[in-house]
Symmetry: C2
Subunit: 342 residues, 2 copies
Amino acid sequence: MTHLFLEKAKEFSSIGFEKQAKLLLVTDENVKKHCYPLIQAFLPKHQLMLIAAGDKNKNLENAQAIWNRALELNLGRNDLIIALGGGVISDLCGFAASTYKRGTNCSYIPTSLMAMVDAAHGGKTGINLGGVKNSVGTFTNPKNIYIHVPFLNTLSKAELYSGFAEAVKHGIIEGKSLWKTIENRTTINASSFTPDFIETLIQVKLAIVEADFKESNERKKLNLGHSIGHAIESLYLEKATPISHGQAVITGIVLESFIAHAHFDLNDEDLNTILRLISTHYDWIDIPFSDDAILQKLSNDKKNTDQMLFTLPMGIGNVQQNCEVSALQVAQAIELYAKYRS
Amino acid sequence: MTHLFLEKAKEFSSIGFEKQAKLLLVTDENVKKHCYPLIQAFLPKHQLMLIAAGDKNKNLENAQAIWNRALELNLGRNDLIIALGGGVISDLCGFAASTYKRGTNCSYIPTSLMAMVDAAHGGKTGINLGGVKNSVGTFTNPKNIYIHVPFLNTLSKAELYSGFAEAVKHGIIEGKSLWKTIENRTTINASSFTPDFIETLIQVKLAIVEADFKESNERKKLNLGHSIGHAIESLYLEKATPISHGQAVITGIVLESFIAHAHFDLNDEDLNTILRLISTHYDWIDIPFSDDAILQKLSNDKKNTDQMLFTLPMGIGNVQQNCEVSALQVAQAIELYAKYRS
């Protein structure tokens, strides 16, 4: 797997697409409208397939739709499925491709900031099932990842901030020059994300993924903010007004910081530094769910066994996986969050 | 992955099952009735899940049922799904486990001869979708394979002969002492299959699989009989009276032998040797399908691209993959088969 920056879109026609392969390009209506026209002329001949936008469509029905479409087109293992979109599209297509005929080529063209710096990298594919995010999936690297920075100009402020949440996470993990770069940003817009900055964010992730592809231990560091974040995101998904993935991750980082400060080694200064940076960029969302509902989701999160093992920030540049956390500690953090928020 | 012969069923309690793990044992009604009682007393505490028997139930609905049951039981990646049954159960459970939480432990206890000598080994998992066998699946080795030879006494003559078809395939591939052993058998019963004989059959497969796990090239040798066999099996599956997998493979070997003899290097003597051995043990089934129907299924077989690449027997001990075969050559072989049969 390689990732490539497409300084000029014409490179699409010369990199990585095997000439004889059939191409099935999967995207959603929003991406088709805003991003597809920017690269359409440079893509080789392909079939287009549309999936409804949104995380709730990262489901088994759409995986089945991709399998069926691939069968109709008689795609073979050496043909290519292209996922043009954000993390929902790449997770879904990556899963469908990794299981179609026991593994078919798939390349990603991430269109969201979140996908460019995080979701597209590291080989996690998945769908949501039974109300649990990513409960079914595989570890399968795409063939190639094509990063086209001009797509960032098509994103709303909310989408940029959703992606920036993963940058914050990577900054806390790295804790050095990347953290300083992130701390120095007071506002975020498309031009904040240069190829160099994106590359730095990707490298923080890849260094960890390469050490532990199947998430036996070290890779769990990347779950910072995600255990509680996924639980809250899942509960919002069941409501009419889902929140962005980034907003969920930020909320998870805040709650996990409270737990780490109250019961582990996160000191006052680093707690305040994290909360200050987050408050500069993000509103604190409401958490209108009972402790029981959140704990129920947590126990179905694949990153936890019954013992509730969390990844926690012990300091800037010191994130630790497999921290034993109790239901009471989670409930206390939620209470503290509500107090700080009001 | 290892495979272990359970000379004594009591070994189940001491090998490979982690004491703290939750166990979900998946089986079908037939196996539950005939095989489960033979080992039930020796299994650790487990949950039991029943799947309807038969290849048509190796489908997405049952994969989803296993995922949902695993979620209900809150299984984690380090818990264990046990597939107790034939190839249908191990393919289905293997697929569900390999994708549940991106990969959960799964062990196989094969109960059919076919599964003991072939299906359980080599890491192919899969379900049928869109009328195409194994169109969705993964390459994932089980954690362990437990072989319990006394299960063979529970099998019907038809089931033993179905499994023996894979032995015939392995014999043609090996072409030396194993082929002689198989040629010397004039009848087949449960006691024909000693642990040593089963081990020899497994080793023929494993030697090839180890060289090419993801079937880039060499492993395609194991598809002998399966390209045409799968097509005919799929078409029978759509009728009320499915045929056994072994019967389909044997029919595939006969048709592929005709093609290899007419258009490639299979000589008269080896053709007659193959046909004689097969006729000693098997009736030649009717092929009540049009050439077009068979060719349509062949083009959706993942082992073929549009060029129709077949694995063919060029001689006893000389099987070749990636042989280019035309639709006309397939049709001629089917015609020849009908002539020989009558």
